[in-house]
């Protein structure tokens, strides 16, 4: 993270080039450059003066950038901000972010700008033929800032950078116990060739250290789903079943109807946390998902939607952590032997 207060005009392109130099691990670089307007509405701007409070301004911008880095999971940030007398056309601010993929970098630049507008200790005075006036954040700036904060609060309750959601963590003193996971694709239209969500889940199961015990594919049919899942429930070599597909609201979506009668216990909390998580990605569309989870004769069963994005969210932000025996404060993996206790 680099923060610079520039008392003289700076060249954004040169700053970006220096920021980008010598790194090949990031595939995305996003930047925003704010420049001094030549007029505000119909009024000509002759110069803009920006005051700062030396020491405090740097400290506060660094704090805003660090918070953005954390919330957007994008630690590689650059802020260059002009102070002093600025002529029309000159750059006022440069914010740049680098990340492995573009999403985090876009989010970080936008979010940090929203905060800088209202929270960076800088004061702008615009001078023109009609005199000078101090500029304060516009209502739109305040609105954007409020919206950005709301988004951060929402994600704060669910994620910590690079770690488990909701402040969870992996305890290095606890042992990881691999589980045997069966993945079932429920679809009328997919075949082994285009079963992308089934493949995504299977890859993640093994990537995160578990064993892919089985993989199956059935049509959107209650009888077919139940037949396959019952086999796995009865199989002592399967600890967990994850299905993908058939959780929507259309007539063909019957996965919850097939699975719920098999559950001895429904894990209602899964649905709650699933919607909180999914809301961050798809907004209100999460209402159309009937993803669910339950226990059947000691086997953990999760029903995820058929889309790749939903499977990513479901595994990366929920199931992965609950199947990890090191996860604190708690996890489902450590309970597996107790699911069937008398």
């Amino acid at each position: 993270m680099r923060i610079r207060i520039a008392a003289e005009a700076f060249d954004p392109q040169a700053e970006i080039a220096a920021f980008a130099a010598g790194r090949d691990d990031a595939g995305a670089l996003v930047n925003f450059v704010g420049t001094c307007r030549a007029k505000t509405g119909d009024v000509a701007v002759e110069e803009l003066r920006i005051d700062h409070y030396p020491g405090f301004t740097e400290k506060e911008i660094a704090r805003l950038a660090a918070e953005t880095a954390q919330h957007c999971d994008c630690p590689d940030l650059l802020v260059v901000h002009r102070v002093g007398v600025i002529r029309p056309g000159e750059a006022i601010v440069l914010v740049a972010a680098r990340s492995i993929h573009r999403a985090n970098a876009f989010k970080a630049v936008e979010s940090l700008m929203d905060y800088l507008k209202t929270d960076a200790p800088l004061w702008k005075k615009e001078s023109g033929p009609g005199g000078a006036r101090w500029i304060e954040p516009r209502p739109q700036d305040q609105e954007r800032r409020a919206k950005a904060e709301e988004g951060r609060k929402m994600s704060e309750t669910l994620t910590v950078p690079g770690g488990a959601p909701g402040g969870g963590r992996l305890d290095p003193d606890k042992a990881f116990r691999p589980l045997r996971v069966a993945v079932l694709t429920v679809s009328d239209t997919r075949d082994a060739e285009n079963d992308t969500s089934g493949k995504l889940l299977s890859d993640r199961v093994t990537r995160d250290g578990h064993v892919l015990a089985a993989r199956g594919m059935v049509k959107d049919s209650i009888a077919e789903i139940q037949a396959q899942v019952k086999k796995w429930i009865a199989d002592p070599g399967v600890d967990v079943v994850i299905s993908t597909g058939g959780t929507g609201l259309t007539g063909r979506d019957v996965t919850p109807e097939a699975l719920r009668p098999l559950f001895d216990k429904t894990i209602e909390g899964f649905e709650t946390v699933w919607h909180m998580t999914s809301f961050q990605t798809v907004g209100l569309s999460t209402m159309q998902s009937r993803a669910c989870a339950g226990l059947a004769k000691g086997t953990l069963i999760f029903a995820l939607p058929g889309s790749n994005g939903a499977c990513k969210d479901g595994w990366d932000r929920l199931i992965r952590w609950q199947l990890d025996s090191r996860h604190r404060p708690c996890n489902l993996a450590e309970l597996i032997s107790r699911f069937t206790e008398a």
Partner: protein, 113 residues
């Protein structure tokens, strides 16, 4: 009071600083943005005993005292949300006591980006 250096920084801030070895009981005031336009030049440094005599103990007292003695500044601060920064840290409590050597900054709404 010891010798003082006075200078106006190019960014428009008004700073008054104590000369070396002066050892006076003072607080330093910094007025940012529009407050800097209405704060008189002599207000960068205030002798603490004089403030104490006037009953000024806390940040709230100081703000009140400023409003009484500098009506323009008082009006400007009353007209807009004002943040106080003490020794470069945000002050959340106006009952915070003022101490010798404090640098207290008055910030109008900020406009970066």
């Amino acid at each position: 009071m010891g010798p003082r250096a006075f200078f106006a920084k190019p960014d428009g801030l008004l700073w008054l600083m104590m000369g070396a070895g002066s050892g006076g009981w003072v607080i330093h005031l910094v007025f940012l943005g529009k407050f800097g336009d209405v704060a008189p030049a002599g207000l960068g440094e205030i002798a603490l005993p004089a403030l104490r005599d006037a009953g000024v103990r806390t940040l709230g007292d100081l703000q009140h005292w400023l409003a009484q003695h500098q009506p323009l500044l008082g009006q400007a601060m009353a007209a807009t949300p004002t943040r106080l920064i003490v020794n470069q840290c945000v002050a959340h409590d106006l009952s915070q006591a003022i101490a010798d050597g404090d640098e207290i900054a008055f910030l109008p709404p900020m406009s970066g980006g």
